[in-house]
Symmetry: C2
Subunit: 335 residues, 2 copies
């Protein structure tokens, strides 16, 4: 199949429909026009297989129907899942998505922000821990997990509630002495509230707890040492551990195996994120599941909503606990 004819233009559509060029332009750009005209133009568009030149359209309407997504990478499963759901949410609304996953390349990220300021993209959804990024409040931007300024909406899971649920679940399952393990960015961010929520849950249920928090760049071996230091006569002094992510829980499960501690018999482990093997198979561990598809929908809704005088600065979406083999649930609660 080869293209035989030249691509039809807006003029061809006007001629075919027997209307003025301006009428075609109005229909194409979604501006009000009489129903009869609209039908004639739409039939002509279909008959000629006319396709809007979105670059010319971009120049005229200042809209590109394109949104950029900034995300550190697509290899970590939580990010991969976010990218997928945001892509679907945009395509559903006939928007295209530019992907910018650059592992904290500030120059690249800043370039996309400049594009938004110059109306080359309609807006940006960004999950970035880049501390050097400058975003003006007038830039259409929705942040995930980390607030980028008082006028920029931030969408996140209810991380505080997630931490609290983890503590309460460990208490419900009979734990008496628990630990919280965390690694991650020191920058102010929403996931850091998991710690406060967990402490709150421990206090309200009278659970004894200890914390081990390491900063970005510090070696994970600190966790090996911390857990080994809490073994007396072959027995770990904790009977429950809450890890700030499933990725950390996965490492901790390996450490516990090396220390000859049985999971969940000797110690129960809860992670955070809701990661499954290969994206759709078993959960890595018992975990607090983030509502990824709801986060994606909310980001897109907030970004594209134009007639909202003040957008909510922080939106926290509900999380749920799910059994994933590393806790001691009664039989009927499993799967």
């Amino acid at each position: 199949m080869k293209k035989e004819n030249s691509t039809p233009t807006m003029k061809d559509v006007a001629r075919e429909a027997g209307v003025a060029l301006g009428t075609v332009s109005k229909v194409v750009n979604g501006l009000p026009v009489g129903d009869a005209y609209k039908t004639r133009v739409e039939s002509a568009i279909q008959k000629l297989n006319y396709q809007v030149n979105s670059y010319a359209q971009g120049l005229k309407t200042n809209k590109t129907r394109t949104v950029a997504l900034l995300i550190p990478n697509t290899q970590e499963p939580f990010y991969a899942s976010l990218v997928y759901h945001i892509n679907l949410a945009l395509l559903k609304r006939k928007y295209r998505m530019l992907l910018c996953s650059t592992d904290y390349d500030c120059g690249q990220e800043q370039e996309y922000i400049a594009m938004a300021q110059q109306n080359k993209v309609d807006g940006i959804i960004g999950l970035t821990y880049n501390p050097h990024l400058i975003i003006e409040e007038s830039t259409p931007f929705v942040a995930i997990d980390r607030s980028m300024g008082p006028k920029i909406p931030c969408v996140t899971s209810d991380n505080f509630a997630g931490g609290q649920i983890a503590a309460e679940k460990l208490a419900d399952l009979g734990c008496k002495n628990v630990a919280f393990l965390r690694t991650g960015s020191d920058l102010n961010n929403e996931p850091n509230k998991r710690k406060a929520g967990f402490e709150n849950g421990c206090l309200s249920r009278g659970l004894a707890y200890e914390m081990k928090i390491i900063s970005d760049g510090e070696p994970y071996e600190e966790f090996d040492k911390f857990l080994a230091d809490h073994i007396q006569e072959g027995k770990l002094s904790f009977d429950g551990i809450f890890c700030v992510t499933d990725a950390l829980a996965y490492r901790v499960l390996k450490i516990l195996r090396r220390l000859n501690q049985k999971v969940p018999e000797d110690v129960q482990v809860i992670g955070f994120d809701g990661i499954r093997y290969f994206g759709n198979q078993d959960y890595i561990c018992s975990t607090i599941v983030q509502p990824v598809s709801e986060i994606a929908e909310m980001c897109v809704e907030l970004l594209l909503q134009e007639n909202m005088p003040s957008k909510p600065p922080l939106v926290c979406l509900p999380v749920t606990y799910v059994y994933g083999g590393t806790t001691s649930e009664p039989f009927d609660a499993k799967e």
Copy 2:
């Protein structure tokens, strides 16, 4: 920080540099111009922080510096890794990437192909098993894993060699009686060559082998049944299994656990892809690793290469075997 002044135009740059507008245009569009002029224009661009309007530029030069990527999803780890590396390869060359991951939504995919034909994107890289997709030979397109036509380059791993390496490795590690398990698309595609390569390796090493191949949509329980049927007096008749993907190997490892078969003592398992937990932690199993970053680079190179009278129809990139805990390597071969 608020924008105080209006965005500088090409005219402002020309005035600042003391050159004609056409000279600025040449520099911006990468056309030849005297070195002294070039330096003056570049200094003016920097001083004014002038940014090229890529939509206006797109209309003039018919180039958008944008490439679309069609991929079923970003949740499966192999796809997630491809997206990441293609994104990096494009950003390195100052190209933007439109992501279209729609789980086989043919309408969406076809729309991106129309965009390429109308020069709204410079080209497409596509991994798609969509049998209804129509791609004209004149469309700038590079396919991954499945040939989309004789004039469209296809980039893939050396799947045949991968299958052969798996068979030879199992033979080297002492296996005598092996199985090949496959699921996936019935459409002609490159990964299907893993089977032929494996058979070839078995024949050359005198390995007895059986195959179990199920089609898309058939239940995975067929593999449970196949393996259970090959147990006699508690012992599996295979001492080696090659699975067409790591995702399948993961399922097979679970089945073997249920059948009380020890891996690697009773049966050794090799997968294909090179998937790691969380993208960068341990391998799921001993596996044939696909060179994802090289595949990404090759796709981008072939797509953007304009002065190539005939592009190679099929490029196969070398794979490597890596130990991942499900084979019986001598100690010093492990990591």
